[in-house]
């Protein structure tokens, strides 16, 4: 059975890129467009891995990660943060909020898939 990835990003471009890359790699893809809708998606979905952006309206990535980690149902799901090279401080904050790892933007599909592989069984 193929793995399910939940992507949380407010940018349509990024969502489309993630979907294209992940579907090509054989994943099921579920998408949400900000932290709030990401948490809503988690009420019905059981993803194997979550990929989230940081800067989002309504609820940002930090808040979203904290939300995922504080609920028993998904606290053990690996979360990868989409970040840019220069966001060292943001990476650190995401990690302390409970992110499993990160993907540096711009990413190529191979990097994306290998990052997922590294955190999923």
């Amino acid at each position: 059975m193929s793995k399910t990835v939940l992507t949380v990003d407010d940018s349509r471009t990024m969502r489309q890129m993630l979907r294209a890359a992940l579907v090509d790699a054989g994943f099921n893809v579920v998408q949400a467009d900000d932290g709030v809708s990401g948490l809503e998606a988690l009420e019905v979905e059981t993803p194997d891995v979550i990929i989230t952006d940081i800067n989002m309206p309504r609820l940002d990535g930090f808040g979203f990660i904290a939300g995922v980690r504080s609920a028993p149902r998904h606290r053990a799901v690996p979360i990868l943060v989409l970040t840019t090279e220069s966001d060292a401080a943001k990476k650190e904050r995401a990690r302390s909020a409970g992110a499993t790892g990160w993907i540096v933007k711009p990413f190529d599909p191979d990097k994306l898939v290998s990052a997922i592989r590294r955190v999923t069984a």
């Binding site: 407010d10 940018s11 349509r12 489309q16 294209a20 504080s70 220069s86 966001d87 790892g101 590294r118």
Partner: protein, 735 residues
């Protein structure tokens, strides 16, 4: 990814850029107006950040570089390191314009003005000023900030030498020994020691051993604790960087030691050594045990599961959802509204519009057939048809509503024009927009930008005075241009009003006389003089400035508005300013028309142009010249235009007394009476472009298909009236 998928994503990216740019500008304007809260600043930042992110994916380097500099300054703004001064906001607005240029250059393949961009980058950096120093260390694009991947990442000289030595003698004799001991935090972040081992095993043949010596007895075991220490031996030809990369995500959450050993002696073993093939079994057993223990231990022990502590520790992030919810109910509502929309390809909507057009025509044909079949209006069929007609009209309105868009995007673009022109002219101008959410058909919106741009340029260049002059005249130094939109009786009315000097009538007349547009001795009303600026070939600029002098005069504005089925008029008060008023149809696809017959032809007159219908009588119609006729309407003489003659349907003038005169008004306010044989009907018709399918015909605006399947031409009232007026002026001279 397939290349067309990438092209698709790129299209999305540029669409999204436009939205982000609009949001950026709206946010900055709110900032400028002092109405910005933290969420606005965040939205501004996100807009630039998103553009940068997407641009990076497509390797749009100029765009990335600029967006990065911009983002850095905005980040300082967001974090409160700098505050939004008026001057600073202006720089940021200019930066937004530059960003828009770069986006469009990237999209359309042109070249943006990189030098200007660099200038703005310098301004942005200057803006960040003091903040820059403290931020300098995270500006080095990350490397110094990555404290969890310490300096060891790079090979130092020794290990390079060693690697070279190892490669030259026996690779097997050298090896890496990796020792790591996860901390509870590693598991709390959903990392897995087993996965790390698997990744290590991918690099080369791995010998893994596990030290379980630190594991306490069951009663003392914290199910979420971490007690195992792993030792992995890897071949010497594996790259150390690759090993470090495996631990990239967890470097802070485990004790890690990676060392290179040159000797051939076996790896230093600890208790319970296991060979590679058995590692999975061991892991499985451990996993099963841990899970069993986890279940056994009262799982939701309130005491201290690590992740919960984490969440509480980072309280700003954890509390944010509640705070955001409580405070930004409006934002949430807006977001919900945004979610309730779908994106549809415009072609599909256009297809639907076309089909509805066919439906309207078909329904009209059906009604005609029913009438021909002799079924009375009271018959069940006729009642059903009425119902169908009502439904058809409703469907039509709904479809038109799909195409309707708020004028906001165009209005937003105008604020940039105002900024630029104000800067070039050295005038201080404030743009106020009103009614931005007024909706109108997409086609109309797209074609509004050019005329509006020109009118605003004109208002600032010619209307608003220099600050010194304004102050001398007792006005505030800053001029105001007001751009507003509203719906009025089935049309959209757009006004461009300035509080400048108003039209300099003596000068306008002087120029018009000099250019031969009016006779030197002509007596003109104020309105007539004002309207001279719409005359072809008229330009008031003393020296052709590079703002208004782009080869476009107000006559072009007028023509483009007319081409949209609109009218434009001006009112001006000396010293108090001028107001240009445009009235446009809400859609170009349907219009309410009066169906008339002329010399056996069926024609349609747009209802909006019609003032009233008259029955010519001997007393009211007066002839002059060879064929000129005027009709007296409430004691005012109005040119009477024989439509059949004008369009060449007949060669001899019609008997005006047997005809109907329709009094029409053009957008300039000029009135004429059109002579037609009879009025047939008044109905909604679907406009079919004649120019697109046939060619331009003077006096004809478009065509439509009637219920009986015949094509009817839609009259271009403005052209007919203009022709009528010129006749009324010329013919007396000829006579």
């Amino acid at each position: 990814m397939a290349s067309d998928a990438i092209a698709d994503i790129k299209t999305t990216f540029f669409q999204e850029c436009e939205e982000q740019l609009a949001e950026l500008e709206a946010g900055l304007l709110a900032l400028e107006g002092g109405e910005a809260d933290l969420e606005t600043v965040n939205a501004i930042f996100r807009a630039v950040h998103s553009i940068k992110g997407g641009a990076g994916a497509f390797h749009l380097n100029d765009l990335v570089r600029f967006a990065h500099a911009y983002e850095t300054t905005l980040d300082h703004l967001r974090s409160g390191q700098i505050s939004a001064t008026p001057a600073g906001t202006k720089v940021m607005l200019r930066a937004a314009d530059m960003l828009a240029d770069l986006v469009r250059a990237a999209r359309d393949g042109g070249a943006a003005d990189i030098a200007r961009g660099d200038g703005i980058i310098e301004e942005l950096v200057a803006l960040s000023g003091a903040a820059e120093e403290s931020a300098a260390n995270d500006d080095g694009d990350g490397m110094d900030g990555l404290d969890f991947t310490p300096v060891q990442v790079s090979f130092d000289a020794d290990s390079m030498d060693e690697a070279a030595a190892a490669a030259s003698d026996a690779p097997l004799s050298a090896r890496y020994v990796v020792e790591f001991m996860p901390k509870p935090a590693l598991y709390a972040k959903a990392n897995e020691a087993g996965l790390l081992l698997r990744e290590l095993a991918r690099l080369g043949e791995a010998v893994v051993s596990c030290d379980i010596g630190g594991t306490p007895l069951l009663p003392d075991l914290d199910p979420e604790g971490a007690y195992l220490r792993w030792t992995v031996t890897l071949p010497g030809d594996v790259e150390e960087a690759a090993i470090r990369e495996v631990f990239e995500f967890v470097a802070d959450d485990c004790d890690l030691d990676i060392r290179r050993e040159g000797g051939a002696s076996p790896a230093p073993t600890r208790a319970a050594e296991t060979q590679n093939p058995d590692i999975l079994n061991l892991l499985k057993t451990l996993e099963a045990e841990v899970q069993a223990q986890q279940a056994a231990a009262s799982a939701p022990s309130p005491a201290q599961p690590a992740p919960e502590r984490k969440a509480a520790g980072s309280s700003p992030a954890a509390e944010k959802p509640t705070a955001a919810k409580a405070e930004a109910g409006k934002a949430a509502a807006a977001a919900n509204a945004a979610q309730a929309t779908i994106r549809v390809d415009i072609d599909r909507v256009d297809r639907l519009v076309d089909l509805i057009g066919e439906l309207v025509i078909n329904q009209a044909m059906l009604a005609q057939r029913v009438a021909e079949a002799g079924l009375g209006r009271g018959s069940a069929v006729a009642t059903g048809l009425d119902e169908l007609e009502r439904l058809t009209r409703e469907i039509q309105d709904s479809v038109m509503a799909i195409r309707a868009q708020p004028v906001k995007p165009v209005f937003q673009r105008m604020s940039r024009i105002v900024r630029e022109v104000a800067e070039i002219t050295g005038k201080s101008v404030h743009l106020i927009t009103d009614g931005e959410n007024t909706e109108v058909d997409k086609t109309v919106i797209e074609r509004l930008a050019d005329p509006l741009t020109h009118m605003l340029r004109n208002a600032i260049d010619h209307g608003i005075e220099d600050p010194a002059k304004r102050v001398a005249a007792g006005k505030p130094a800053e001029g105001v241009v007001r751009l507003s939109a509203l719906h009025r009786s089935g049309r959209i009315v757009i006004e461009v009003a300035d509080d400048g000097a108003g039209i300099n009538r003596p000068r306008v007349k002087e120029i018009a006389v000099r250019k031969g547009l009016v006779a030197p001795d002509a007596v003109l009303s104020d309105d007539e003089i004002d309207n001279l600026i719409f005359a072809p070939g008229f330009s008031t600029a003393e020296s052709v400035s590079n703002i208004s002098g782009r080869g476009v005069g107000m006559d072009v504005v007028k023509r483009s508005i007319q081409a949209l089925g609109g009218r434009i008029s001006i009112s001006s008060r000396p010293g108090a300013g001028s107001t240009f008023t445009m009235s446009l149809p809400l859609t170009l696809a349907v219009l309410d028309g009066m169906v008339v017959s002329v010399a056996g032809q069926t024609l349609v007159l747009p209802l909006t142009a019609i003032v009233e219908t008259l029955q010519p009588s001997e007393a009211s119609v007066h002839s002059f010249g060879t064929s000129g006729q005027v009709i007296s309407v409430r004691k005012a003489l109005t040119p009477l235009i024989d439509v059949g003659m004008r369009l060449g349907f007949r060669s001899a003038p019609a008997d005006s007394l047997a005809c109907v005169a329709i009094l029409v008004e053009s957008e300039g306010g000029g009135r004429s009476a059109l002579l037609v044989d009879a009025i047939q009907d008044q109905r909604q018709i679907v406009v079919k472009s004649l120019e697109g399918n046939y060619g331009h015909v003077p006096g004809i605006a478009a065509a439509t298909i009637l219920g009986d399947g015949r094509v009817a031409l839609i009259l271009d009232v403005d052209t007919l009236v203009a022709a009528g007026q010129s006749i009324s002026l010329q013919q007396p001279q000829a006579a």
